[in-house]
């Protein structure tokens, strides 16, 4: 496995390799041709999102200069932070060809329980509250994962069920109560509104989570296996089985992470808004899924990046704020967000078809050349 590849000791100091440099560039070009096509398309997606983002900011700024002041921009990004954290978890789940509709309810439940705990134990460090929120989220995620993998129930059905069930639990636990900012320890609220080295803490937290999971899904076997599971799921999962992947375990883990990040989102929510009742995070699941889809995560599994999904969250969040700033009717706001999601999915389809056709042409050309 780890046999070091020793290059044969070249007799000459460098002059004896006339064939090397002449062959190599050609070789390299051939080898990376297929990769480049795909890379370009993927990058086009992420670059495209960045262009869209800049355009929205510029246009909105031109019409309503207030939108561009530091405080307004900070608010915009802060609003996105929670969604972006949850989107990272959702990406893991969608990549395995599943879906998690329960994240909004998990957020609501964990936000309340976190706030409730800190209210009742003001002397305990706030971090304990955050950990509790994450643990509650992870437990809910475990429930989802086990039902999906053990119970062999489609994720859509399972998480639709837990979405309602957990919301019900949240109402039960709160009993109509509401936690107010005055009840929460200041140290905790500071997390929601404070800065870390001049950057809002919540944004730092979101960036850390996104980079961490981006890294894990790109550079770790564990992450790549999620893609493999989703990719083979389209043809019955046989490939994953033959490769000896523990699909059930990986899918469950993805759900646990999605739940845990929704729990973390709950803590962030409590810290940022201070006011928490049983309805916290209602509708977030669709915003999170929408962000992932806009960010290029294929709903059929197997492709899309955490980074792209986070960009999707930022674009959607910015559009929403921009529409409010521009005082556009609420109905139109919803319609535009919906339109954007449809455009993103259509674009996805188009890109996939195009790249498939391109790759097919390439191998056909290679075959005839051979």
């Amino acid at each position: 496995m780890s046999t070091p590849v020793t290059t044969p000791a070249a007799p000459g100091p460098g002059g004896s390799a006339p064939s090397g440099p002449t062959v190599e560039p050609e070789e390299a070009e051939r080898v990376s041709a297929g990769r480049r096509v795909v890379d370009r398309l993927i990058r086009a997606r992420e670059l495209g999102l960045i262009v869209v983002l800049i355009a929205i900011v510029a246009i909105t700024g031109a019409i309503e200069p207030n939108f561009l002041d530091a405080d307004s921009l900070k608010q915009t990004v802060l609003n996105v932070a929670i969604i972006a954290v949850m989107t990272a978890g959702m990406t893991l789940v969608i990549v395995t060809r599943n879906i998690d509709l329960s994240v909004g309810s998990i957020l609501g439940l964990s936000a309340f329980l976190c706030g409730d705990f800190l209210t009742k134990n003001p002397s305990v460090p706030w971090i304990v509250g955050v950990l509790i929120a994450i643990l509650i989220g992870a437990a809910c995620g475990l429930l989802n994962g086990v039902l999906v993998t053990w119970g062999r129930v489609p994720a859509l059905v399972v998480t639709l069920g837990t979405m309602y069930a957990l919301r019900g639990v949240a109402f039960l636990v709160t009993g109509g109560r509401q936690i107010n900012a005055e009840d929460l320890p200041d140290s905790f609220l500071k997390v929601g509104s404070g800065d870390l080295l001049g950057v809002p803490t919540l944004i730092v937290l979101a960036v850390v989570v996104i980079v961490l999971f981006w890294f894990i899904t790109r550079d770790y076997a564990w992450g790549r296996q999620l893609y493999a599971i989703g990719s083979s799921g389209r043809s019955g999962g046989q490939a994953a089985k033959l490769a000896g992947l523990k699909s059930d375990r990986r899918v469950t883990q993805a759900f646990v992470i999605s739940g845990a990040l929704a729990g973390l989102g709950g803590a962030m929510y409590a810290a940022r808004y201070g006011t928490v009742d049983a309805t916290g995070g209602q509708g977030y699941e669709l915003r999170v899924i929408g962000a992932a889809v806009v960010g290029g995560v294929a709903i059929a599994g197997g492709s899309g990046t955490v980074f792209g999904a986070a960009l999707g969250a930022v674009v959607l969040g910015t559009i929403q704020t921009a529409l409010i700033v521009l005082k556009i009717d609420d109905f139109w706001q919803q319609a535009i967000v919906g339109l954007l999601i449809i455009v993103a999915i259509s674009l996805d389809r188009l890109i996939t078809n195009q790249s498939e056709a391109l790759l097919r042409q390439r191998s056909a050309r290679r075959r005839t050349a051979a």
């Binding site: 790549r224 493999a228 992947l245 498939e356 390439r362």
Partner: protein
Amino acid sequence: MSTDATTTPLVALDGASRSFGAVHALKNASLALRAGEVRALMGENGAGKSTLVKILTGVDRPNSGSVLVDGEPVVFHSTADSRDAGVAVILQEPTLFPDLSVAENVVMGRHPKRSFGRIDRPAMKQTVQGLLDRLGVDLDPDRPVQGLSIADQQIVEIAKAMSFDARVLIMDEPTAALSGREVDRLFGVVRALQARGAAVLFISHRLEEVYEIATVVTVMRDGEVVHDGPLSELPEDELVRRMVGRDVNQLFPKTPATIGDVVLDVKGLSREGVFYDVDLQVRAGEIVALAGLVGAGRSEVVQAIFGVDQATEGTVNMLGHDLPLGKPTAAVAAGMALVPEDRRQQGLVMDMSIGQNATLARLGDMRSRGLLSPKRERAEASQWGERLQLKYGKLSDPVGTLSGGNQQKVVLAKWLGTEPRLLIIDEPTRGIDVGTKAEVHRIINELAGQGLAVLMVSSELPEVLGMADRVLVMFEGRVTAELTRAEANEERVVRAATGRTAVTEEIA
């Protein structure tokens, strides 16, 4: 029986039996895979080949008997166990991860790591490039598997098998979807593996391929091993006789049919970039074969005639009426039926029952008071089952449980029920074993005898020559020869199919 057991087989099956309920899929079967040997596993569909493969690959376990690795009995609890013992399987349809790169497909589950457990991408690429080079194929390890041809996907599977030092390679009908050149390349790879001391188990229905690549042969019939020995000692007709347990002296019994009026008349049919200017006629009672190499545009032509694909130019006339192009419903209404090449994807709904599939094209007739009547469905399906000698357990079994030949019969039943005037059948016997093949041929001949016009696409020369009243040969999207039954012979068809000669010269 007469195999010299000088070396210990790498992997062997010793007196293995497996039954599913009352069905004995495998009875006391033994088989030895030795280093440097390519063993052919022959038998009709349902003879127990797949069960044997499943046991060797750890998908299934025998009720009695055992699997031996290097002479020691072992139990494969899963595919992972058999893989660890060095057994790799290449299926007819590769099972890969389409979104991932070639390299990742090869190493999935065993990524090379570097510091902090990160994936070592350069090492991964280098390993896979090395494997592909050893196989002598030009494939980019970084490109995604999506869009690769079946042949290239099989190469990826083989590279995967080599990457965990597989000593035993089981190839289950690997050539079914390959063109001639791709088969040659695959065989080159197999020979290289053989030379390196791997044992290969090769399953194919194409006899000429088996004789080309294999050294020893195991013949199975009804779950039992009926022959085991060097292939050179077993002539082709003897092999076939052992497989079917009877003489198949006439594989293509042509029954003379009275040829009637023109049923299908196609003029100047073209599809930009795919095929050009195709003229063809099919008369009642006539079997017309479209021959040619894979990729010559034959399937595309019949799909355009049926209207699944939109032709860009030309006319399709059925019984004197011009059909609108690109409208399959109009084609069906005019009395056309198309049995597609890919049964699993296009011909059948695999999860639905035999009965439901057989009556799917006539849901309207299966109604009683506006609702589908399962009773009528059953009656209809069992009648067809009898007529086509369908072998099945229950009509309510999913059609996916049938063997390839019997699946084809269900597709036929489905279309014949619509009482078509023209039957278009694309590769009627692909992936069907010898015995059932003859039955499918018999059915087609009988139908023609009853006055049905048949347009058949086939890559198998004996089938084309044996069945057709007229042969149209295509090359690169054009009809290059039209031969009567008397004119058609192997050489003429092959020459026209490879575009090597002018039509006039051919006929002269």
